[in-house]
């Protein structure tokens, strides 16, 4: 997955998997580029956020733009002003992980004038097993509300359809069909399908004829090893 713009903005309905994909992409980009930054613009979720894997970014030499540690667990919708520096520094690949739905997308709107000239890749992440986005119409409604709140046009899709630990290849293929439907209706490409690494064997055949990125999961429940 090599994005065409140095600025990649992940949007999506609530719980679509933006954070996992953002983290995976940051790690992948860092293998090819010296300077990679990831911005946690999630003003919605109190747990399971990009900032919660700060140690990983530190180790991998990826710049995390997030509220200061002192305030990272405050119940406040903080947007770090550090982000401006990375928007204007074109030596950086910049990944933006926003909160879900139009409410999460609101935090993107304020940067409109800063990144409108940068031709950002605005990705809509779809998990068709989430409520309200299991149909093409439902997903398009979600896209439209996010576009309005973020003042951005969605430019591509990622199919991240899954059922957590119970995902089957059928779920992924059904989600791909819905992504295809959205893609045709809105005339935007599907970048790829993202699949948990645990499912490599079950999905090998399908992955051989479709664009697939296998991802690691970082947002784990406390009882998972």
């Amino acid at each position: 997955m090599m994005p065409r713009s140095r600025l990649i903005i992940f949007t999506g309905h609530f719980g679509s998997g933006k954070t996992e994909i953002s983290i995976n992409l940051a790690l992948q980009l860092r293998k090819s580029f010296e300077r990679v930054a990831i911005s946690d613009l999630d003003v919605i979720n109190p747990y399971f956020r990009t900032r919660d894997v700060a140690d990983l970014f530190n180790k991998e030499d990826i710049k995390l733009i997030a509220p200061s540690e002192r305030l990272s667990n405050a119940d406040l919708p903080i947007v770090s002003s550090d982000i401006y520096r990375y928007i204007s520094d074109d030596s950086y690949k910049l990944i933006i992980d926003a909160g879900g739905d139009k409410d999460g997308a609101i935090s993107l709107g304020q940067f409109y004038n800063y990144w409108k000239g940068l031709n950002p890749e605005v990705v809509f992440v779809l998990n068709a097993n989430r409520p309200n986005v299991s149909t093409v119409e439902g997903a398009i409604k979600s896209i439209e509300s996010i576009e309005q709140a973020s003042r951005l046009k969605v430019t591509s899709l990622i199919n991240n359809t899954n059922l957590g630990s119970e995902t089957t290849s059928d779920d992924i293929i059904d989600g791909y069909k819905i992504s295809k439907g959205i893609s045709e209706k809105l005339n935007i490409p599907i970048i790829n399908t993202t699949i948990n690494k645990d499912l490599i064997n079950e999905t090998r055949d399908w992955a051989s004829i479709n664009d697939v990125l296998y991802i690691e999961r970082y947002m784990k429940s406390p009882w998972e090893a």
């Binding site: 667990n73 097993n129 299991s134 957590g164 429940s221 406390p222």
Partner: protein, 354 residues
Amino acid sequence: MAKLLMKGNEVIAEAAVKAGCRYFFGYPITPQNELVTYMAKRLPEVGGVFLQAESEIAAINMVYGAAGTGARVMTSTSSPGYSLKQEGISYLSGAELPAVICNISRGGPGLGNIQPAQSDYFQATRGGGHGDYYLPVFAPASLQEVADLMGDAFDVADKYRTPVLILADGVLGQMMEPVEFSDKVVEELPKKDWATTGTRGDGGPKIITSLDLDIGGLEAHNSRLKDKFENITKNEIRYEEYEIEDAEYILVAYGSVARIAMSAIKLARKAGIKVGLIRPITLWPYPQEPFIKTRDKVKGYMSVEMSAGQMVEDVRLAVNGHAPVSFYGRNGGVIPTHEEIYEKIVQLSGGVKA
């Protein structure tokens, strides 16, 4: 119905709607906001009413009003908000009104923090407000269990005319898991002939109140309530046992901590330590039976909690001196890891045999 991937707070809300809840009065507080947000969108779709009250105190009193009409009604909050609702819950219990309340608990005391905690156990299981009352407390450990329990919570509320509490820590509210909503057959429930829906020349006025100025009258009322609580204790206890048949040591944990404890037990079993788990699903009434049948066989119990030690008191009462009871916990928003719990099991059992 196909499975969906959902967040805990959403599951509580959707399962409540599926159980016939059409009224929700609440006030936002982290980490349960998604529940309020979900209800705001969902209830108008099914002809229900969502109302964001001006405070938790207002919300619980709106619940009192709606419950008085016989409607299925719910409110949700997190720890500090649950404290604010206590007066209203005591009134609901006194006036014998059915309602479901959710506490997606966080670190305390005081404003505490927004991380998960189980330190509202005392408050949840000892009534919480003033007066002689208890309320049934359900403590699910997975999102599928949440989906399955919500209907039962409303049924228990209606059947016994009592407020019911769903107690889940912030992890359960915020995590995502696949769930399937079943079309549960609703139990045949008694008619709500006490509801204040107006009289039609069919009897005297219906009055719902927790006020009783007649001293003997209030005692008689409380004695009826006591019988009701005994009835609930007889009929509604739920728990799960895990690997206890041959266990020499038994962990006791509820909610998300029970799942961490299970991971620790798997590690310990691999190391040859015979350890099992009792997981109370109802925290009040508290399950006595699994303790009574194991307490003369095991070498000890350990209560594992995200608190400074609260449920351990109920474990001691149930074990009643027959075996040693110890405690391990983290609190203030810190979640114990299964490695930590495993280490405690090793210590408890006197070390791993080489």
